[in-house]
Subunit: 186 residues, 2 copies
Amino acid sequence: SKSKSTKFANVNFGDRGMSLEAELNSSNTYYLENDIAVIHKKPIPIQIVKVDYPNRSAAVIREAYFQQASTTDYNGVYRGRYLDFEAKETKSKTAFPLKNFHEHQIEHMRKCLAQDGICFVIIRFAVLNRLFLLTATDLFHYWDHQADGGRKSIPLTDIEKLATELHYHINPLIPYLDAIDPLIEG
Amino acid sequence: SKSKSTKFANVNFGDRGMSLEAELNSSNTYYLENDIAVIHKKPIPIQIVKVDYPNRSAAVIREAYFQQASTTDYNGVYRGRYLDFEAKETKSKTAFPLKNFHEHQIEHMRKCLAQDGICFVIIRFAVLNRLFLLTATDLFHYWDHQADGGRKSIPLTDIEKLATELHYHINPLIPYLDAIDPLIEG
Ligand SMILES: [Mg+2]
Ligand SMILES: [Mg+2]
């Protein structure tokens, strides 16, 4: 077996710049520090099997496994409303493949929506460097029609019509809450 | 160095029965399955340093460290409102020691409250087997007065007056959302 340690750094700078996750984390820090919203990335769930307690130093986890996340990437509170969302990137230039979602993420969003939470997905088309905020309700329309002969992806042309395009900014880097205001005022 | 693996089981059955955390997790499962609320325990944040990728099997974390949680134990959505809370136990029979809280947990609750979230703490007096739901606003009163000569704990007699006592039930085990309804209805 070989070991890697780079993959799990908090900020994953790649050829194309920051990862979408790092960009959203940076945006959330801005929103938090400016008392605009409290939104955090949920930690990856880990099943811990073995822990060493060396003398005089911190506990060291020596055997643990990644668990499948049962919910979404982010949640928090903004203007009295519960926000819950997933961030996804695709290399496709023409459509967003639905296989990027797991059934349990969809089910989690359905349950949050039933409690009147605001649920959405932030999608980046990495090659095009275009970003969209698509509501969970619009996502479910495509998800639910896969089974009865529907497409396995959402065409970019549909996303352009249904979603709100987000444009990079300075502070915050991704001003995605601007696209939430009309949903609250709705 | 010696190793332990028992401490991190999801359910921690002790002499006195389930831990408060396990009782709340069970209650949240009931609320989730019955479409009453979506509330999850946040995973413990872990800093991962080394991961092995053995052939044909799952990645194994070989070196990682516990990080201090910067927020609270639980959050989620109920009746359109964002809920955020901490669960704490004490062995004291007379008062709840404020040293059970970290400054960053208090700051997190202040920020959530400023966004009109519903923030509170569920306190168990383990020896008395009594449970209370205390709002963050009431907690802050005691927290803020520590510095100017106030008490370092909240007397049980004050908690009896300010908080809502919770009584164990069958389903859910701890029906704490009943104490939230009056807060929502105002
Ligand atoms: Mg994601
Ligand atoms: Mg706790």
